[in-house]
Amino acid sequence: MVIMRDSTRVNDLIYYLLNNSGFVKAEEIAAFLHVSKKTVYRLIKNINDGSKIPLISSQRGVGYKINYRHYMQFKQQNKIANNSLGNVSPVERRNRIMKQLLLISPQSIKESEAFGKYYVSSNVQSNDQHAMKSILKRYQINLVVKDGYIRVKGAELNIRNAIKELIDDREIVNLRQFIGNKDFDSKFDVRFVLKLIDKIEDQLQTSLPYPYNVNLFSHIYILISRLRKTGSKFNLKAESPKQDIDSNHSLYQISKNVVNDISNYLNLKLQKNEADSIFEYLISSRFDNDISKECISDEVSEITKELIDEVSKKMGRDFFSIQTSLEKHIQPLIKRLDNHIHVNNNLLEQIKIEYQDLFNIIKDVSKKVFISNNYGRPDDNEIGYITLYFAQALENQSAKLRVILMCATGIGTSELLRIKVKNTFPNFEVVGVTSNNDLSFQKGDADLIISTVRVSDKIPIPSVVVSAFFTRKDKEIVQRKVDELQGEHDENK
């Protein structure tokens, strides 16, 4: 049987027809295969003779066309694997070609080299080029086709961003998943970058959580791929983040070490500002410990507060309790917006389904708050992460907590507190209002005492002291204690 002999020409002919929806003339097939028309007739006859049902139908004066249903039946009967490049979808084909062109940019390759292995006609090729042009335009990259050669042209940062979008790291949540991923096909580079990330984490003395680790991995892998294909000729033209470097010197030193390691690995001198781009990824990340805790800027606090206030207003609930934790997320987020760094969110679809209203409100509010503070609009992935902070607060609020309110007399400031506490913590059940002279309470009578005066050590119930004013600071004191109590409760489960 001809097909089972796996002749290259036969395969090429079949894939060529598979990628062309209409009839194709013998002349065109002959030109593609670099054979005579006579050879084309012979090959087609052999293909049809070799199968029980004709795979290729012909129409006089119009040409040849694959009978897709017959072909699929034949494939199934003969267990032909579906792994040839001729069988990739149009989207996948265009993505692969774009990725190839982006990696070697500004160099060009022959059009036939770019498209040849996909067995597509000149019409399909022209359509692909049109589609790729409009995709690349979004990244301010031009697709140039001239004299049978094709290439892409654009700023280095845009090229890397486009590559980042084309490689598929969306499903990756653990760095080990990069091993064996088809988009990260250089296993040596993958292992090298994994070691680099380990080294960065050692130097940071903390781990880089998802999605920041995946993001940094992809960035370094793309950098290495670019360097392998083009050397270090490209110009990053990025502005140096001098102000950030001054306040995060240790992160910058780590970035310089990374660049040195890559330079030694590839035996290639890298441009100095590559350290800047690694640094931008690091300052746009949130670490597992709170090394950035001390340096939350006033701007970040203000943006976070605006966001919380607006969402609270729209949701009819007070979310002040997430201020501190959300600030730590917003700090690197505004760096990501500044540096045009995108993160994936593998929970996004789930978040959109489970917290649809909350997600939409946050999306709406974020647009307003970030733009009024001169930042770009966070994308859905980012909105998804912010939503999780609010969703967590909603879940915490639903857990009932029994509280005693206390003041010097049991009739003064504690009475005022009762209303304010109830408004802020609707999940609190006030089981008593008393004076600090009352030492009759036992462990188990309540989960927490909120008092405007010092609480005697003799009372075996956790307590916090606040002002009757019950300011944001007071609310935070209570929330921290609640988080602490819930943490203990979870540990004891």
């Binding site: 010097a408 009739i411 400031t413």
Partner: protein, 124 residues
């Protein structure tokens, strides 16, 4: 539970010391035999254990003493506000209303019925 005696008054005080003197006079009406020094000690004792601010312009002052025989809360509106420095907030507040709570430590009083209105209602 007993109902507490809640009274509204106006007062004119030049400064905090003047206010303390007036409070001592109120306390003497509720706690026969109590001295100025004892009132001052009671107030300081409460102040040391926690902030007495109820809002940005309302301060609570407590006289909690065994000599009190008639538990009383006086809602005092000042004709001229005075400056108050809060150790808790580390800043100055302008106080225009004072809630003076004069009670026996063993009191069995119910909640105050007029407190919230007094603190929240700016016109009173």
């Amino acid at each position: 539970m007993m109902k507490i005696n809640e009274i509204f008054k106006y007062a004119s005080c030049k400064n905090a010391a003047d206010l303390d003197r007036q409070i001592a006079n109120f306390a003497k009406e509720c706690a026969p035999g109590i001295t100025d020094k004892e009132v001052e000690t009671d107030i300081q004792l409460r102040n040391k254990s926690g902030e007495g601010l109820m809002s940005s312009d309302v301060l609570a002052i407590h006289v909690q003493d065994k000599k009190v025989v008639k538990d009383t809360v006086i809602y005092l509106t000042l004709t001229s506000p005075f400056n108050y420095f809060s150790d808790y907030f580390k800043k100055k507040f302008v106080i225009s209303k004072v809630v003076v709570i004069i009670v026996n430590p063993q009191h069995k009083l119910d909640s105050l019925t007029k407190l919230t209105d007094f603190v929240i209602n700016k016109n009173k």
